[in-house]
């Protein structure tokens, strides 16, 4: 592969080098969280985390473990930078994003450190493109303080059924209300739109329900506009876990299988709507 012929000496100047035989394994995942232009990249020896935030109320994270990469070298404990995600995605699909099997864009992502641009070496069919994207000072992502010990209710659903519900949601509703309860209706998505209200109920014994652990009846509302981007992640995923904590914060975790069948995760955190809800 042409990219691997780069000299060892060059490599030493980079604090981060990550290579993928198939750039789609990264770009597809990033598309699931592209609702803002900028993303915070955070790399540790465990892998790469890309974070996108909206008004401090919504946060999306895409995780690609080190094992997914064909090469993942990091010379510091933690490397962070911020780039324009739209530009990055454009570069990753610079060869046109062909879906012919066997043909894929290879990627070598290199970063020299603070102040340096992010360098992408992309190759397809013997043609190499080098992209340099300016980086910015990484913002500190919001810590939603969502910890598993504080989780009151959790369900894991097969994405298929949730995809159907989300595609039908009444978009004239400003909020999406999620009710989780040990008793009826168990797991309910509700909208309150111009024509009236609608409820989607998933019983706990449905064969779409892989895990149902609800201790307490909780009803929370979330702004529809905040949750709408999560449908991209839902579309890619095969399973989704929905968790709420005692404060009503929502965590959606999507299990995504990439082109090679490897597992990656996308996570969305969302703050509940401030208004007092009625049952």
């Amino acid at each position: 592969m042409p990219l691997s012929t780069q000299s060892q000496a060059d490599d030493e100047q980079y604090v981060l080098v990550a290579s993928l035989d198939n750039a789609r394994n990264l770009s597809n995942l990033l598309k699931a969280i592209t609702f803002k232009d900028h993303a915070i990249f955070s790399a540790t020896p465990n892998g790469l985390k890309v974070t996108v935030e909206e008004s401090k109320c919504l946060q999306a994270n895409a995780f690609i473990q080190a094992e997914i990469f064909q090469e993942f070298t990091i010379r510091e404990d933690s490397v962070g930078f911020q780039v324009n995600l739209t530009v990055l995605l454009d570069c990753l699909s610079i060869f046109g994003g062909s879906t012919v099997p066997g043909v894929s864009t290879a990627l070598r992502m290199c970063y020299r450190g603070y102040g340096y641009p992010l360098t992408l070496f992309l190759e397809e069919g013997g043609v190499v493109t080098v992209c340099k994207i300016n980086t910015q000072e990484p913002e500190e992502p919001v810590d939603f303080e969502f910890c598993s010990t504080n989780v009151t209710n959790k369900v894991i659903l097969q994405s298929e059924s949730l995809k159907e519900a989300f595609s039908e949601l009444d978009m004239t509703s400003e909020v999406l209300q999620i009710t989780m309860s040990p008793s009826q209706p168990y797991f309910r998505l509700s909208t309150f739109g111009n024509s009236g209200n609608a409820h989607y109920d998933y019983p706990k014994d449905s064969d779409m329900m892989e895990l149902f652990r609800c201790d307490k009846t909780q009803t929370n509302r979330y702004k529809m506009s905040l949750l709408k981007p999560s449908t991209k992640a839902l579309a890619l995923s095969c399973k989704v876990s929905v968790r709420t904590d005692s404060r009503g914060f929502l965590s959606l975790q999507y299990l995504v299988r990439n082109d090679d069948g490897q597992i990656c995760f996308v996570e969305y955190f969302c703050c509940p709507d401030e208004e007092v809800e009625e049952e």
Partner: protein, 357 residues
């Protein structure tokens, strides 16, 4: 009101609602003894459609006791319940329609696979009765054909075309669009199709007339008819004369009729005299005002309303006569083989009151 629709009938119901959405923005719901009537009328009250679902269509059919109930709902809200027709068949097991008169809510509950339940609580408004009213004269011209024939005919006209003129002789039927005289000749296209009487199941012409009507509403009905594959009956008469519903079809043709549907469209051709069909008129949107019809006597009076509009606005083209085109199709039941007599809905239209000079 408490009704349950199961299996493939849910899709039929959804298709009927989609068909009605092409006519008007509101769905008029009226549960009756004869069945559930779903109706729609366009804003200019020149086209009306009605789907009557007989009690046999439902696995349960209970109507409000002791009083007639009528309401209207924004049709988009009802369409939202049956979002994707393709998945309806695969996922929905039954649809439960319930009325809560106290809360002014109509609830549609879809019971789907995997235990998923979708509940839509739609608010409705009380409505006046919506019924096209005809006198009981017989039609001069009666036709029946496979919907495929009409679908294949209208496909030749551009989707943006508003009106089409149909004229008949003893053996032929022509479909033709109208091109404005001052239209850009390089972009104008005149299309004329001729259908022979052999292509129809029934072709009965008594008067060599022509009528002009809005194509959009017909397309809405054709979408439904084509999916069910049932014959369409078409009736029209001379301009200004009333039309009547057909007599019930003989029992050997259709044993059980679970759905009746009717589309009534108004003709807008200019008739220079009482004898022949006149040339087609300018587009429908120009010729009709959007004045809401007076519902005082519970009848839509498309004829008289149009005439009021004419005299009110001097800019309008004069001398419009019209008649009503009445499309009907009847759906036999799929499974039940009981010999229920056909309960044909009486649909009557008032005669136009005065001749336009």
């Amino acid at each position: 009101m408490d009704c349950v629709v199961t299996g493939g009938n849910v899709k039929v119901l959804a298709k009927a609602i989609n068909s009605l959405s092409r006519i008007g923005d509101e769905l008029y719901v009226e549960p009756q003894e004869e069945g559930l009537a779903l109706r729609s009328v366009n804003s200019s009250r020149s086209a009306y459609a009605c789907f009557l679902f007989a009690p046999l269509f439902f696995s349960r059919y209970t109507i409000p006791r002791g009083h007639t109930f009528r309401c209207k709902i924004a049709i988009k809200s009802v369409q939202a319940v049956f979002r994707s027709l393709a998945t309806l068949e695969k996922t929905v097991e039954k649809c439960h329609i319930e009325l809560d008169e106290q809360k002014n809510r109509l609830t549609f509950t879809l019971h789907c696979k995997h235990g998923l339940m979708k509940t839509h609580n739609l608010s409705f408004q009380d409505s006046e009765s919506l019924q096209a009213v005809f006198d009981k004269d017989s039609y001069a011209n009666v036709f029946r054909c496979n919907p495929r024939l009409l679908v294949d005919t209208v496909v030749h006209f551009p989707p943006s075309l508003e009106e089409v003129t149909v004229s008949v002789s003893d053996e032929r039927m022509w479909f033709r669009n109208h091109v404005e005289e001052d239209a850009d000749q390089s972009k104008a296209m005149l299309t004329e199709l001729c259908l022979a009487s052999e292509e129809f199941d029934h072709f009965g012409v008594k008067a060599h007339n022509g009528v002009t009507f809005c194509l959009k509403e017909l397309r809405g009905l054709l979408v439904f008819a084509e999916s069910t594959g049932l014959p369409i009956s078409m009736y029209f008469d001379e301009p200004g004369r009333a039309c009547t519903p057909p007599p019930p079809p003989p029992p050997d043709d259709f044993m059980n009729d679970d759905i009746d549907c009717y589309l009534i469209a108004m003709d807008t051709s200019i008739a220079p005299g009482p004898s022949g069909a006149g040339p087609p008129t300018p587009p429908l949107s120009d010729s009709l005002c959007s004045k809401p019809s007076a519902a005082a006597n519970h009848r839509t009076r498309p004829h008289s309303e149009e005439e009021e509009d004419e005299t009110a606005d001097s800019g309008r083209p004069p001398n419009k006569k019209f008649c009503s085109l009445f499309f009907g199709s009847v759906l036999p039941a799929s499974s039940q083989m009981t010999t229920q007599p056909v309960t044909s809905q009486q649909v009557l239209a008032s005669d136009s009151e005065e001749d336009v000079q």
